[in-house]
């Protein structure tokens, strides 16, 4: 076990070393400071801005920003939906795939435009190379960029600056962050052995003489943005467990770290943009500690294995069901916690097969949404929790609560509450409906407590815009496609609208100067209280469902 934890510690050390570098770089980008990429990126951006008619607009108002984000997302979603529906007549279709059902195409389009990439299909048998690389790959960049743009707008608003221009930040997120890192990362993955080809499936003759078709395709470039943009939609059905997506330990290390660098880095970016790097670091370490605790719970659970099997074996064996042996229990547990925490949603093992502690941890990740959190939005949620904590503790020191010198009043509480409220609505209500009609709707493969986890996980993954599946569900049905689409949209756009209005309102407030009567939010004490508030406000809501799912399962396994 020790060896496993050393492995985890090393990977985390790489994260701690790299995320702040990226965070500082992102701050430079969005503060408009010069970076070494200027020479290459600037001409490209000028071209894009000129071509699309984006003028150097100082800032949008909240309504303008929100409509820009929503309309552009809608247009992109419709565009991709149409490509998916007409993929049979479009090029790059070596296997001659026809159109999927309308509800699956709808769910897929919504799932990718919301940066979720929940997949009710297997890529290699459902979508053409053009659909995958052209349509879905396109959304992987733009949806991630939408998240980053919103986070930057939110940070700007909190720190009293105008929230900025959505289109400009969207373009910058792609040209300065997503595209360059993806280019380098894709090349590294190619080196590691990930294929990148437009040729159709390879035909091989097996040792036994049978003919086998091996699916392949333009995987490397797809794979890297899948992780970097916290998209998580695999080229192949089994995602990063597939040897062509994640062939070896090097690829696995790269993919694990790269799915966390942006949300972890954005916390540091916040610190710099707010002119208070210490606070950025405090929040970084708070999340890091919560993350570490969850990893420990999951890893110990996997290491101890299934007690029923251990009884038969007469010895303690780690749980290897649903795992790639090349990754083992350590790297699968670490990946599972990271991918659900960051809303990446790629998997390198079967989450359905995790031991109950693993199920508990992955579900908790999805419920909390801030263990690094979604691309951009996760960082913003962290600050929503910070604002709610400021409100409660601010009252406790006898002043109208202030965050970064701006008063938290009714409007802020309404908007923050909306974010707090939408998550249980988007998860618990459809879960209850589905479980009320288990035979007609659910499609549960593993009844009992585990079935509850399967259903709740699916909606939590949709609402948190994570996209990973507990799997084991027969989920390509009209009910699942449509009901999950509801959770996807509610979980994505309601918070984005609330965040932008919150930020814009904060930016317009008259700042209050700091005195010794001001509550400092950059102290260990306050950060610790925030962690407590996150657990109480975020997790207590979902405690009953956790108890009926993984907790009951764990107690019944002994």
């Amino acid at each position: 076990m020790l060896q496993g934890f050393v492995q985890i510690a090393l990977i985390l050390a790489i994260l701690v070393a790299t995320a702040p570098l990226l965070g500082r770089y992102m701050a430079r980008v969005f503060l408009g400071q010069s970076t070494w990429l200027d020479k290459i990126a600037r001409p490209l951006e000028s071209l894009i801005f000129a071509g699309s008619g984006i003028t150097k607009h100082p800032s949008m108002g909240a309504t303008q920003y929100v409509s820009a984000a929503l309309i552009s997302n809608l247009v992109m979603g419709v565009f991709v939906f149409l490509i998916l529906m007409f993929q049979g007549s479009l090029p790059l279709n070596p296997t001659g795939l026809a159109a999927p059902s309308w509800d699956l195409a709808l769910h897929t389009a919504i799932s990718f435009v919301t940066n979720t990439n929940q997949q009710h299909y297997s890529g290699e048998t459902t979508y053409t190379y053009f659909s995958q690389a052209g349509a879905l790959g396109f959304l992987m960049f733009t949806s991630a960029a939408t998240g980053i743009a919103v986070a930057i707008a939110f940070i700007r608003g909190l720190t009293g600056q105008a929230i900025g221009n959505f289109y400009q930040d969207l373009v910058l997120s792609i040209t300065r962050i997503l595209l360059p890192i993806s280019l380098v990362g894709a090349i590294l993955l190619l080196v590691a052995g990930v294929p990148e080809t437009l040729a159709g499936p390879a035909q091989v003759t097996t040792l036994e003489g049978a003919t086998q078709w091996i699916a392949r395709g333009p995987v490397a470039h797809f794979e890297i943005i899948k992780e970097l943009g916290e998209n998580g939609g695999g080229f192949f059905g089994i995602n990063s467990a597939h040897p062509f997506e994640n062939p070896n330990n090097f690829a696995n290390l790269l993919e694990t770290v790269i799915m966390m660098v942006i949300p972890a880095g954005l916390i540091i970016t916040y610190g710099i943009m707010a002119g208070n790097p210490e606070q950025g670091w405090l929040i970084f370490w708070m999340v890091f500690i919560l993350y570490g605790i969850l990893i420990a719970i999951a890893a110990v659970g996997e290491f101890q294995g299934n007690p029923l099997i251990n009884q038969i074996l007469g010895e303690t064996q780690p749980n290897l069901e649903g795992k790639e042996v090349r990754f083992g229990w350590v790297l699968t547990a670490l990946w599972a916690v990271s991918t659900t925490g960051t809303m990446c949603g790629a998997v390198n093992g079967m989450h359905d097969s995790l031991m109950p502690p693993g199920g508990f941890v992955t579900l908790s990740d999805l419920f909390l949404q801030i263990i690094w959190g979604g691309q951009g939005t996760g960082t913003a949620y962290l600050f929503v929790f910070l604002i709610l904590t400021v409100f409660l503790t601010g009252l406790m020191v006898g002043r109208t609560p202030e965050f970064l010198g701006r008063k938290i009043e009714k409007r802020e509480i309404v908007l923050a509450s909306l974010i707090l409220l939408i998550h249980p609505i988007a998860i618990l209500i459809p879960t209850a409906i589905t479980l009320a009609f288990p035979d007609t709707l659910a499609g549960i493969s593993n009844p009992g407590f585990h079935g509850i986890s399967q259903v709740a996980y699916e909606y939590a993954s949709a609402a948190a815009n994570n996209g990973s599946g507990f799997e084991g569900l027969a989920d390509n049905t009209l009910w699942w496609n449509l009901s999950a689409s509801f959770s996807l949209i509610a979980g994505r756009y309601v918070p984005i609208v609330a965040l932008i209005f919150l930020a814009d309102g904060m930016a317009r407030k008259q700042p209050v100067p700091e005195t010794s009567g001001t509550l400092h939010t950059d102290t260990t004490l306050f950060t610790g209280i925030t962690a407590g508030a996150i657990i109480i406000l975020g997790a207590l809501t979902f405690l009953p469902i956790l108890v009926l799912g993984p907790v009951a399962e764990a107690f019944n396994l002994v």
């Binding site: 709610l388 409100f391 409660l392 503790t393 601010g394 009252l395 406790m396 020191v397 006898g398 002043r399 109208t400 938290i408 009043e409 009714k410 509480i413 309404v414 509450s417 707090l420 409220l421 249980p424 609505i425 618990l428 209500i429 879960t431 209850a432 409906i433 589905t434 479980l435 009320a436 288990p438 009992g448 407590f449 079935g451 509850i452 709740a456 008259q510 209050v512 100067p513 005195t515 010794s516 009567g517 001001t518 509550l519 400092h520 004490l525 209280i529 407590g532 109480i536 207590l540 809501t541 979902f542 405690l543 009953p544 108890v547 009926l548 799912g549 907790v551 009951a552 107690f555 019944n556």
Partner: protein, 690 residues
Amino acid sequence: MNSTSTVRQPGGPRQQRRHTPKANLSDLYQRAFKEAWVKLNPKIMVKNPVMFMVWVGTLITGMLTLNPNLFGVTGTSAMFNGLVTVILLFTVLFANFAEAVAEGRGKAQADALRSTQTQTYAQRILADGSLEMVSSTHLRKGDRIVVSVGDIIPADGEVLEGVASVDESAITGESAPVLKEPGSDVASSVTGGTRIISDELIIRVTADPGKGFIDRMIDLVEGAERSKTPNEIALTVLLAVLTLVFLIVVATLPPPANYIDSPVSITLLIALLVALIPTTIGGLLSAIGIAGMDRVAQFNVVATSGRAVEACGDINTLVLDKTGTITLGNRLAETFLPVNGHSLKEVAAIALAASIFDTTPEGKSIVRLAEKMGATLDFDRQQAEGVEFSARTRMSGTDLPDGSEVRKGAVDAIRGFVRSRGGKSPTGLDEAYGKVSHLGGTPLAVCRNDEIYGVIYLKDIIKPGIQERFNQLRRMGVRTVMLTGDNRITASVIAKEAGVDDFIAEATPEDKIQVIQQEQAAGKLVAMTGDGTNDAPALAQANVGLAMNSGTQAAKEAANMVDLDSDPTKLIDLVTIGKQLLITRGALTTFSLANDIAKYFAIIPAMFAGIGIGALNIMDLKSPQSAVLSALIYNALIIPALIPLALRGVKFRPLSADQLLQRNILVYGLGGIIVPFVAIKLIDLGISLL
């Protein structure tokens, strides 16, 4: 030198001041108990979303008591449902009781005030000059009335004619009568309910009946006019959202429970809901607000809105007048400094001669000091003539029978006087002036005809204990700015001695409003006190303007609070009250939310006793029924247990925000997690003994 003619000296140390008539609290609890039942009216309940939810739950469990199978799901007995119903009903009643007690105390306070305001008759002056006897309730703003000795003044008003003394003890508790006369800044306003004890006044009514200061105070403490304050609204929103979140949590629980064949009865669902929603703070929130207003009223301050009280807690800057607030109103002569080779005795004699007609406390203190030094009058007082102080000449004095003129006044003014008589400024005058200024005193020069004899050192007496209060304010993050008409040197010395953070010397009324605007431009909330008409714009501009009751009507109209005791230092107490109000809300909310952890651990294992999660019953509660009942009993009892805290307010300590947080999070956050575990376990032990 100006001799201030304050009508009444500001109150002394707090303990010595009497407060408003004592409220009658004898049957407070009986009345509140009755009121608690009246408040069960759904129309009233719906105003409080958290407790309304509990009330609806009570009704449903009530129905389930009569017929346990009403909704098809069995599982809990009529007996158990009945017990839950009773506990829930008491939860609602306790919350209503808390509010009723707070309101009752306010009402008692109001009744006491109202007793000063019995209906009276007034003589209204009609357009043709004749008088008409009308009931005070028929008076309108703008009416002119005559009041004579013995009358109760029927309404707030402004004196137009006459000079009379008025007994204001009914409002202020101060027994010394107050002189009222027209035109004067401070003495021209009268308050309804006070009694005129000499002479006659013609008064212009400035407030319609029911709109006067006393009425406003009554409305406020009774809660009739209580509109929610901004922070309270924000908190109510948060509590409503949390209630909604937990409603979703509980309402979506039956399908998964049924799915694993562990159906949950409606009664248990309601029990879980009530345990999770923030009933503790929900039940006490309005009581906290009402009690806050009540505390202000007990301090003898009339606030026009709860918003103003809450704003006190947010104040960043206090703008205070030096005289009367930081220093005692009167400066006293401390010593004489001779110049130009005169002896001390000579100076004393001239000072005595110049002050013999000066009746101000300062003038009297000069006379006392001079006499102590052995000075005597060398002329016949009857033959001499006093020269009064005027703002133009800035000096006063005496014209002696032999035709010589003795004067005392501001050093510049006396210098000018001497020059006009052909004299010149002696050597050593500047030195003496500087010396006094550096001591924080006010220098007055004295002269006889063309010769300056010396300087009187008038010492400003800083109020005892004021420095400690400013230190406290500084720790709370409140900056104090002193305004004074003194010269820069004197001002800086007083400022240093009193411990204020900043001062404006040689200030004019315009400076006041400028300081406030400057501070506000930097995002600060400013509080100030004032009494004069020329303070009115600044009082209106300030976020919290506290007018003195002795002040003019204009000042009182412009301010959002009026201090009936006319004690400017009260602003400091108001800051504390405002903070206390917020702290109490925040602390009880935190406590309420933290309690949820223990309640979960009590109810969830009991709810799903059949699915093998017994290990979650970490409190080792006896049975599922007793676990649920214990959690609910705790939930109900914690409300009355915290009523005293809600009414009294969490004790405020003048610490920095970070220290306060550390303290309060330990008590109410950590305490909120631990206390219910212990209490629920104890209640469960009690139940199992029965």
